[in-house]
Structures are given as C-alpha cells and as structure tokens.
C-alpha cells in the first residue's frame, strides 16, 4: 500500500511538460504537489469522464505526454472508456488508476461484485499497449522512468491508502482552470 500523496509526488517528479487530467481523490492530492497548474485539467464534475477527456487531449496534443490520474471508484462507472482508448491507441497516453484500499469514496463499504475488478486485465484485453500494477512505493519510484518512456496507451494500477481526506479540492473553478490551460497551450504554439 502506498500513501496517495506519495504517488502524486512520484508522478510530479517525472511529469516534465505533460498535460495532467485528474479527478476525485487523485485531484485533491495532485493540485497540492503540481508545479504546472497551467497544464492541469481538473475534473471536479463528471468525474467518471477523466479517461475520455484525456483521450481528446492526447489526439489534440500528440506531441505531449497526457497523464490521467483516475480512481477505481470513478473508472468502474465507465469501464467502456477503456475500450474506446484501446481502440484509439494514443501512444502518448498514461492512465494511472489509484485503487483505494479503504473504499473511502463509499464510506468504507466495498461495492459487492465490483470490488475485485481487474483493471489491468480489462485494459490489456481492451487494447492498451501495456498495463502494470504497484503496491510498493520503492517499486513505483523505480518503475516510473520506464512508464514515462514506453509508448502507450498504458494503464498503471496503484494500490493506495488515501491521505488527502482532510485536503480540499482546488479553489480554482473547473471552467477557470480549463481556460488557463487553453491559454497556456495557445501561447505555446
């Protein structure tokens, strides 16, 4: 089990100029460590749509890495997105899925029948180029370099214990954040 804020820090260390789409509990950790908020696409609404937003970005910005910071609770409400991404096969797409060992999004209650969804297996069969899993921080830190170098789409499942419960969502509104990213990308052309 890895503290969720350590996962955010590890991703931030390897981020470079990647665009980051984050949602739900992953967003609460992410916005506290990110040093490029002008390249962060926050999803505080429609949280199950993070992979699809990431796919659109990956097609519009094929020369940048797109990192999607997703959660198990949000992904399992739209598993079909894995098939959509597998079919589109964007090589610049990395999909992190934080699996919350404490089921905090459902107040500690595992959802019967959905608690053991094998996201790695589903991603592989849907056409992702690579899928892997980490439940140890040291292995994640070692593995990140390879993850950021490989052609995607890649799914990285990480078993976490959330430590952002007291953390808030960003004060920046979703609309303001997206407008900031659009300005940053337009200025970069």
């Amino acid at each position: 089990m890895i503290p969720s804020h350590e996962v955010a820090r590890a991703i931030n260390y390897h981020r470079d100029d990647a665009l980051v789409v984050s949602t739900s509990a992953a967003l609460r950790d992410w916005h506290q460590v990110s040093q490029r908020r002008d390249l962060d696409i926050d999803l505080t609404d429609c949280m199950d749509r993070a992979p699809a937003v990431g796919l659109g970005l990956s097609l519009a910005q094929p020369n940048r890495r797109i990192l999607v910071l997703d959660c198990d609770a949000t992904l399992r409400t739209d598993l079909a997105s894995l098939a959509t991404i597998g079919e589109a096969a964007p090589s610049n797409f990395v999909h992190f899925v934080l699996e919350d060992a404490d089921h905090t999004s459902t107040d500690g209650v595992p959802i019967r029948g959905l608690d053991k969804v094998d996201f790695e297996g589903v991603a592989r069969s849907a056409g992702y180029a690579h899928a892997c899993r980490f439940d140890n921080l040291e292995e994640l830190l070692i593995g990140m370099e390879d993850i950021m170098r490989r052609p995607g789409p890649i799914l990285v499942a990480v078993k976490v214990v959330p430590d952002s419960e007291s953390a808030r969502f960003p004060e920046r509104t979703m609309a303001d954040g997206w407008a900031e990213v659009r300005r940053a990308l337009a200025a970069d052309i």
Binding site: C46, R49, A52, G56, Q61, A186
Partner: protein, 170 residues
C-alpha cells in the same frame, strides 16, 4: 391522378462539405443504423479524423479534451444518445462554455402524422430544458444551417444542436 413529387434528400456529401467549410478537425461519434453512407464518406475525407466511442456520454468528454487541446471537434450521435449523455452535456459543455456543434440523428421524427417513438417526442423538450438552441436539417437545401450552428456556438461559447431529420441518401 396524382403526380409523384420527387422527395428531397440529404446526401452525406452535403454534411461533410459543411464540416470542411467550418474547419472541423475531429468527428466524435457513436455509429448507428442510419449513418453507414456518412461513415464511408467521412473515412475518405483526409481533413477529418473519426473518433468512435462506446457510449454517447464519452463523446462530450472526448470533444471537451479535443477543444481544450486546441482542436475543433463535432459530436455525431442519435437523439437517444443525447439522453444518455445528459450529465456530460451539463458538466462538460454547458458549464465549461464549450462551443460545440452536436449533430443529432432525429430518431422518430415524422414531419407528417403521429410520432409514436418517444425518442422523437422528447428530444426537443430536453434541448429546450437545457437552453440549447437547435436547427433542423432534412435535405441538402437545409445543410447550410450547419454553418449557422457553427457561427452561433462560437459567438455564444455554448453548444448548439443540429437535428438530422432524415436518413442519409446514397
């Protein structure tokens, strides 16, 4: 004795020409039973990239990602898909002021007679409820309404729908 009046039809080329005229980069869509001719024409058009999805709600999110990344997408779905995509239209189109043209197959539309299909009966009410303006396209002569929709969605920074009220002719 009655004289048969040739019925006007909508050719896929009319729609594709409108997309080209408005510099559309991507068509995010869920194919349905009435879009086969259109699919082949879009596949042959080098300026358009097709992005197929599994569920209509994804179309709005993929389009939002394309838009924030600097591309110019449209979505192409049936009216049943608008119902399925409702929360994404609210959260990712209306609340983000996304200037998106939604091309919507008008299943159940009958210009004359009763409309037994609830998909046809409800769609305009749903668009009214969300404050989404729309234009009806049934024939090649109507196709320039698609450009009107593009002008409006960009001027107002909000989604505008185009209801395709006919099957595509070959």
């Amino acid at each position: 004795m009655t004289t048969a009046i040739p019925e006007s039809i909508l050719h896929p080329a009319s729609l594709v020409n409108e997309l080209k005229k408005n510099d559309v980069s991507h068509v995010v869509w869920l194919p349905d039973s009435e879009t086969n001719f259109l699919y082949h024409m879009m596949m042959e058009e080098p300026t358009l990239d097709l992005v197929p999805v599994c569920r209509e709600g994804e179309t709005m999110a993929v389009a939002a990602g394309l838009w924030v990344g600097g591309a110019k997408p449209v979505v192409l779905i049936q009216n049943t898909g608008v119902f399925e995509a409702g929360d994404s239209i609210r959260g990712l189109c209306l609340d983000l002021n996304q200037p998106l043209v939604m091309l919507v197959g008008y299943r159940g539309w009958t210009r004359r007679g009763p409309t037994p299909d609830s998909a046809g009966r409800f769609i305009e009410h749903i668009l009214h409820a969300w404050g989404i303006n729309y234009y009806l396209v049934e024939t090649d002569e109507d196709a320039d309404r698609i450009s009107v929709a593009f002008e409006e969605c960009e001027r107002l920074s909000r989604p505008v729908a185009v209801l395709i009220g006919t099957e595509f002719g070959s």
